[in-house]
């Protein structure tokens, strides 16, 4: 069965069984392999993408459920790694093996979009749905705090305050 939706602003049409997880469509049909397979049960967060601007675990999202929607993957977060979260990730030297980091970055971007100045507790609550087996959690925390501080829109926001 064919499903139409957009991925990183490009229209796509995918012929797949309706219950196929979006994860496998993205990775093996569309060849956007930055989104990762980690657990298949929505417990590790390696597969996180944005659907209509909100984070979604693509291993738990059936392709039929994204028909007509906009999907953004790590490849579409920015054209040149210039998203504040990506920049902060490099500044804090977050990744080790790096396998989980696409999902972590997509979740962090989702958080900052909804909540430009999250508290530490809010960051921990959002990010505890992810597993980083290399244990980069403290750097992820620092990177999100840095991104919140340094994001252009946030910087303006800070300047606007007395």
């Amino acid at each position: 069965m064919a499903f139409q939706f957009t991925v990183n602003s490009s229209a796509v049409s995918v012929d797949a069984p309706a219950d196929t997880p979006l994860l496998w469509v993205i990775r093996e049909e569309l060849k956007l392999t930055g989104t990762k397979f980690g657990c298949g049960v929505g417990l590790c967060g390696a597969c996180v993408v944005h659907v209509d601007g909100k984070r979604a675990f693509s291993c738990q999202t059936q392709v039929s459920n994204v028909a007509g929607k906009e999907v953004t993957t790590i490849e579409g977060l920015s054209p040149d790694s210039s998203h504040p979260v990506q920049k902060a990730w490099l500044a804090e030297r977050v990744p080790q093996c790096g396998y989980c980091q696409s999902g972590q970055i997509m979740s962090a971007a989702d958080l900052l979009k909804r909540n430009p100045h999250p508290t530490r507790a809010e960051i921990v609550a959002q990010m505890s749905g992810h597993i980083c087996r290399c244990g980069t959690y403290l750097r992820i925390l620092r990177a999100i705090e840095r991104a919140a501080r340094e994001a252009p829109s946030n910087a303006q926001h800070v300047r606007a305050e007395p």
């Binding site: 797949a16 069984p17 196929t20 997880p21 496998w24 990775r27 093996e28 049909e29 060849k31 956007l32 392999t33 930055g34 989104t35 990762k36 397979f37 980690g38 657990c39 298949g40 049960v41 417990l43 590790c44 390696a46 993957t73 790590i74 490849e75 977060l77 920015s78 790694s81 990506q86 990730w89 490099l90 030297r93 977050v94 990744p95 080790q96 093996c97 790096g98 396998y99 989980c100 980091q101 696409s102 970055i105 921990v124 609550a125 990010m127 505890s128 992810h130 597993i131 980083c132 087996r133 290399c134 244990g135 980069t136 959690y137 403290l138 750097r139 992820i140 925390l141």
Partner: protein, 741 residues
């Protein structure tokens, strides 16, 4: 920014001129390419100066990286070590993953194997890489001296530039290539001719890890990401117990799944070939009720709790012989007999799982005649992956073109000799319509059920103190599930039946304990085991450092002071221990929390740790608020990366200490996925404070070194907080609650 000529393959189109002394073999030139390559191998630019370095007229310097990259940073740090001695401009360096040729690129500290493990990459390659870099620099200087007709001694280098100070002339490395003559014999470099640490330009100065930018935008390529035109997918249903073989196969339900191409019998399982991963996984699930298994394999009937009870009984039974006297110093038995005070204790550790984030997988394509193959995989052991692929097809290793990629975590899981996840892809590609490439992926459940675990161990310890309270005897008998004979039989033979994966860290050579004995009593349960980040040291340091705290308590001395006394002959150790005490404010009493300390030396890396914990008595949950850690690993090649490895290693150690446990019933793994194998998440992670004390000693490992410091420091803090000593790892809520009564 540095380029990474990867993650593809490092095969060069041309042969290298081999003149490193001792290397007298030829490198295969222009190997036959086979199959549907995803990408062409990078053609290394410029003139090869030795198997490690080529310099192009543009000034681009290609340096081989002999270790695989799983997050530990060796892809950057090893070429950087060479580049420092070559005095290369780091911005002009291109890093090329070395081809799987053990004789050239093998680690001297690893029996010469091209195996990235045991945190031995920097330690083993440090001096050879510096020497290779110095040789190339010497050749450049000699060429310029001849070209300018000046004495070589008047020349010096700045990054990628040869300078003649007297005349003010300068020439870039790339320009030298035009007239460079490369001698047939490498210039001899004496150790004292190498740079002094104060002259390092790169070592000790943090650089961006070369592959890091690819890890924030999705462009980093792991084996699971490899895309080969025409590729199909494979999934394999394996026996629930190691060594089991399929008996009856009813594949009707599996074949009815849309997209399934074929169902094939393998010696150890049943494989599905399908057009998509989803079809392959669904068909594998559909096979589960249709396959019966021969109860071949040793582990059928094995229960890990009962097994551990039996191990513990054997450890206590002094008549049960040890197979190897692992460590002997003085006469522990005689000293025990004379001791004024005797103590004994028993500890136990359970199986644990690597849980690398990238489930095991590989891609392979086999030629129509079955006489050659191309393989893509993420492995810690490229030469073994190549050899295993060749064995699976019964063809020579030279007929396997191996492409290795970045690893989505290794932790020891991707380093054993069998490399069964690579064999999966090769066998499935052989069964496919050759030469159709096949990507075989394990699900997380496959990865847990078929894990290779850190072993179960039971430890019986005895200590003897003389009348003054000095610790004069320390004796340990360790009964544990064997690792090395299962993981790498050749290494086991080379090690004279000493299973260092099991026994690592059991000796306390750095402590002033005159009489010590450690005995190895291995058992073969048939359960798959493997080195896991920290190997035997995880169990053995948990045990030793916990027991030493018991001794300190018995003597009523401060546990940190007790260790400082034991370290009287190890001043570097005293320094790291004192420093961690300062950082943690060791002497300060806390409300509702307590501190515990530990000290270890792990392959010559010295580490101290202090944990601050609290306990929820109603649930038995241990909470770690803070963890302070100090390390002296000699020359700190990349200081921030050392800190990163320690932060991550402490998190890894916390999981092993608190929640991670694999149990076996009737030979089968009981856990399935991250809902019943609990690893640390962000909300459970303490504040971690790491300090590196750089010294001028030869650099030693960091990747796995922090893992074993965690459990004993936590256990010692719990004992101080509650007065109750925990004796089993992991220290799960249930165990803590039971112990607290």
């Amino acid at each position: 920014m540095n380029q990474l000529a990867c993650p593809k393959t490092g095969f060069s189109r041309r042969g290298f001129m081999i003149w490193i002394s001792g290397l007298t073999f030829a490198v295969a030139v222009g190997r036959e390419r086979f199959g549907h390559a995803a990408t062409e191998a990078p053609d290394i630019a410029g003139t090869p100066f030795n198997p490690w370095v080529s310099i192009a007229p543009s000034g681009e310097i290609s340096i081989m990286a002999p270790a695989t990259e799983m997050g530990q940073g060796s892809l950057t740090s090893l070429p950087l070590i060479l580049a420092d001695e070559l005095d290369a401009d780091w911005s002009k360096v291109v890093i090329v993953p070395a081809p799987p040729i053990g004789k050239i690129y093998g680690n001297p500290s690893m029996f010469g194997a091209m195996l990235t493990a045991h945190s031995l990459s920097v330690q083993g390659y440090f001096t050879p890489l510096r020497t290779f870099g110095a040789q190339v620099r010497a050749v450049l200087l000699d060429n310029v001296a001849k070209h300018w007709n000046v004495p070589s001694a008047e020349l010096s280098t700045e990054p990628s530039v040869v300078v003649h100070a007297k005349s003010g002339r300068r020439i870039g490395y790339g320009e030298i290539v035009a007239f460079a003559e490369i001698p047939a014999v490498a210039p001899a470099i004496k150790p004292e001719a190498l740079k002094k640490p104060s002259d390092f330009r790169l070592i000790g100065h943090d650089v961006m890890r070369v592959e890091l930018p690819t890890k924030v935008n999705g462009s980093a390529i792991y084996a699971i990401d490899v895309q080969v035109p025409g590729m199909i997918y494979g999934a394999i249903l394996r026996s629930p117990v190691q060594g089991g073989a399929p008996d009856n196969i009813d594949d009707a339900a599996a074949k009815a799944v849309a997209g399934v191409i074929d169902v094939v019998r393998l010696p150890y399982g049943v494989g599905v070939l399908a057009k998509t991963p989803w079809a392959a996984f669904n068909a594998k699930s559909a096979l589960e009720s249709g396959v019966t298994w021969q109860r071949s394999g040793k582990a059928w009937g094995f229960d890990s709790d009962e097994g551990l009870d039996a191990f513990a009984a054997d450890a206590r039974d002094l008549n049960m012989p040890t197979t190897v006297d692992w460590y002997k110093q003085g006469d522990a038995e005689a000293a025990l007999a004379q001791a004024a005070t005797k103590m004994e204790a028993e500890y136990r550790c359970h199986y644990a799982y690597h849980a690398q984030m990238e489930p095991l997988n590989a891609v392979a394509s086999v030629s129509a005649a079955g006489d050659a193959a191309e393989v893509w995989c993420g492995t810690q052991y490229p030469t073994a992956a190549q050899a295993a692929s060749a064995r699976a097809l019964d063809i020579p290793a030279e007929r396997i073109k191996l492409n290795y990629t970045l690893l989505g975590g290794g932790f020891g899981r991707r380093g054993d000799y069998a490399e069964e996840f690579v064999v999966d892809a090769v066998l499935m590609a052989k069964c496919a319509q050759r030469p159709v490439p096949v990507k075989v992926m394990w699900t997380r459940e496959d990865d847990v059920h078929n894990g290779h675990f850190r072993p179960i161990t039971a430890h019986y310890l005895r200590a003897g103190l003389d009348a003054s309270g000095k610790l004069i005897a320390y004796d340990q008998r360790l009964v544990g599930d064997r690792v090395l004979p299962a993981e790498n039989p050749q290494f086991f033979r080379d090690s004279h039946d000493r299973d260092y994966q099991l026994m690592g860290g059991v000796q306390l050579t750095y402590y002033d304990i005159p009489n010590q004995y450690a005995g190895q009593i291995p058992r073969d349960t048939g359960v798959r085991t493997a080195p896991l980040r920290g190997i035997g040291d995880i169990a053995n340091k948990f045990v030793a450092e916990s027991f030493l705290d018991e001794v300190a308590h018995k003597r009523s001395v401060d546990p940190m002071q007790f260790r400082l006394e034991l370290l009287k002959n190890t001043p570097r150790g005293q320094k790291v221990l004192q420093r961690v005490g300062e950082m943690a404010d060791w002497g300060r009493k806390r409300d509702n929390t307590a501190l515990g300390c530990a000290f270890i030396v792990y392959n010559d890396t010295l580490i101290s740790g202090v944990a601050e914990v609290s306990i929820d008595h109603s649930t038995g949950q241990i909470r770690v608020q803070n963890f302070w850690c100090v390390v002296d690993c000699g020359i700190a090649v990349q200081p921030d990366n050392i800190v990163a490895q320690f932060e991550g290693g402490i998190v890894y150690g916390l999981g092993l200490a608190l929640t991670e446990e694999i149990s076996i019933r009737d030979g089968a793994v009981q856990q399935n996925n991250f809902y019943d194998y609990r690893v640390m998440r962000m909300y459970e992670v303490p504040d971690i404070h790491v300090e590196v004390i750089p010294t001028d000693n030869h650099p030693t490992g960091v990747g796995q070194m922090p893992v074993p410091i965690v459990a004993p420091a936590v256990n010692n803090a719990v004992a101080r907080l509650t007065g109750v000593r925990l004796r089993e790892s992991p220290m799960t809520q249930e165990r803590v609650k039971k112990a607290l009564g």
